[in-house]
């Protein structure tokens, strides 16, 4: 503990592989004995600055802080903040930093949490900025992979669905590329392929390779992990394109039959219909466990950035 104290978290690679490992170790310890940490953040205040709607990420952060014995203030939705009066992000955060010990920001504009971090002395966590980065989802995903597969290297990872706007996918690619021998199967319609910067992250990785496919079935028998994503309506400019593409990539029990018996299915949630509910009972489906891991990794993150004793 100590190296992360006072730091911000903007991107998945802000923490070194060793620092991330420490965080995962702490997450596992909390998971095993949550009572031992019930007062770890006693007297600490978390500000949740959510400029766009989110239930899961916000609840996960709030639950994390409350379970550590800390308290939470914040807003959800731009209309309920002073941004509705035209206040800049920098000024809002400078003010919030007078009251809170740590802040998490979600914002529709890419890079907004970086502006917040540059404008204040308290640690700022990026809770998702537009289609750009979502590092705490990435930490959740990495913790889940480490817990379920026992390692974070030499894995064959299929990413399926909206790979263009899906911020969780971009963050995960960037983080996993750092580990040795990763193979990515990028499965998406042509309209929703990964942006150029994500391809660069793979190319610059630690011996990572990637394959781009349009059909999920071709990849399924080869995968250790299948990461499904939602085709998000709010990222489309028109309804017609959304309706045409949303059902293209649905995982069901039949498709699960051709997958490896050891393959795990992950999803950042919320799911719409890209995973049929019949898959939920398959022991390979880990997406609800993933959500719980998210709370534990956020507990570890809050403790580490605040520098509270372990």
């Amino acid at each position: 503990m100590g190296t992360l104290q006072g730091r911000d978290l903007m991107e998945p690679l802000d923490f070194s592989a060793e620092e991330s490992e420490e965080l995962f170790d702490l997450s596992m310890r909390i998971m095993e004995d949550p009572k031992a940490y019930a007062r770890a953040c006693d007297g600490k205040l978390l500000a949740t600055l959510f400029y766009e709607p989110s239930t899961r990420t916000r609840f996960s952060f709030e639950a994390a802080m409350l379970r550590l014995g800390g308290r939470v203030i914040g807003f959800s939705g731009e209309q309920s903040s002073s941004a509705a009066k035209g206040e800049s992000i920098a000024d809002t955060v400078r003010t919030v930093a007078c009251y809170a010990d740590i802040a998490v920001m979600r914002h529709p504009k890419e890079g907004a949490p970086l502006v917040a971090a540059q404008s204040s002395d308290i640690p700022v966590i990026n809770g998702g900025d537009g289609g750009h980065q979502h590092p705490t989802q990435t930490l959740t995903d990495l913790l889940t992979i480490r817990k379920e597969k026992g390692r974070l290297s030499h894995l064959r990872v299929g990413l399926c669905g909206d790979l263009k706007f899906g911020r969780t996918v971009h963050s995960l690619i960037k983080a996993l590329s750092r580990y040795e021998g990763m193979e990515f199967y990028l499965i998406s319609p042509e309209e929703l392929v990964v942006p150029e910067y994500a391809r660069k992250d793979i190319a610059n990785g630690n011996g990572s390779r990637c394959m781009e496919l349009t059909r999920m079935q071709e990849a399924l028998p080869h995968l250790d992990i299948l990461y499904m994503t939602r085709v998000q309506k709010e990222r489309f400019f028109n309804e017609e394109d959304y309706v045409r593409l949303k059902d293209s990539y649905i995982l069901d029990a039949n498709k699960m039959k051709i997958a490896s018996p050891d393959m795990i299915v992950m999803h950042p949630l919320p799911r719409v219909n890209e995973i049929a509910t019949e898959v939920d009972d398959d022991p390979r489906a880990v997406y609800f466990k993933q959500a719980k891991n998210g709370m534990y990794v956020r507990m570890a993150l809050l403790m580490s950035l605040l520098g509270v004793e372990n």
Binding site: S88, I89, A90, H107, P108, K109, E110, G111, A112, L114, V115, D129, G130, G131, H132, E196, Y197, K200
Partner: protein
């Protein structure tokens, strides 16, 4: 073609042929008042053709901005009719308020007080990425 030498000012030589106007635009020169000579497609032993810019009485230039535009160009500062300083250009690692981010989803599109910051990500392809949103920009 003959252009008189200058007593004091700046001479940017070996600009890629055809790019002089772009360089001038980035230099933020006051073309209504400053004395400026723009020579385009002049013969060059090294490159075949080149552009040259001479600006009288102006000696401050932002090397970061110039390097970004054309790092093969040479910049000579002239004082008392002689070259007093040569600036060697290179692609800058970081440029501030030279390139604007064109990504409509970038925070720079709504937060007017913050600087536009770009970082060099690929020197060979001369590509920069926005420090806020990672949008790739090719400068020329």
């Amino acid at each position: 073609m003959e252009v008189n030498s200058i007593e004091k000012g700046i001479v940017i030589d070996h600009i890629r042929a055809g790019f002089a106007m772009k360089v001038l635009e980035y230099l933020d020169v006051d073309i209504a008042n400053d004395t400026v000579a723009v020579i385009m497609n002049a013969a060059s032993r090294k490159y075949g053709k080149k552009d040259i810019i001479k600006i009288e009485n102006v000696t401050d230039a932002d090397p970061a901005a110039l390097g970004l535009l054309d790092h093969t160009a040479t910049v000579n500062i002239i004082e008392n009719g002689k070259i007093s300083r040569k600036i060697k250009l290179s692609l800058p690692q970081r440029v501030v308020n030279v390139v604007k981010c064109k990504n409509p989803r970038c925070v720079t599109s709504i937060e007017p007080s913050i600087p536009h910051v770009f970082r060099l990500v690929d020197a060979e392809r001369e590509e920069y990425s926005c420090a806020y949103c990672d949008e790739i920009a090719k400068v020329l």
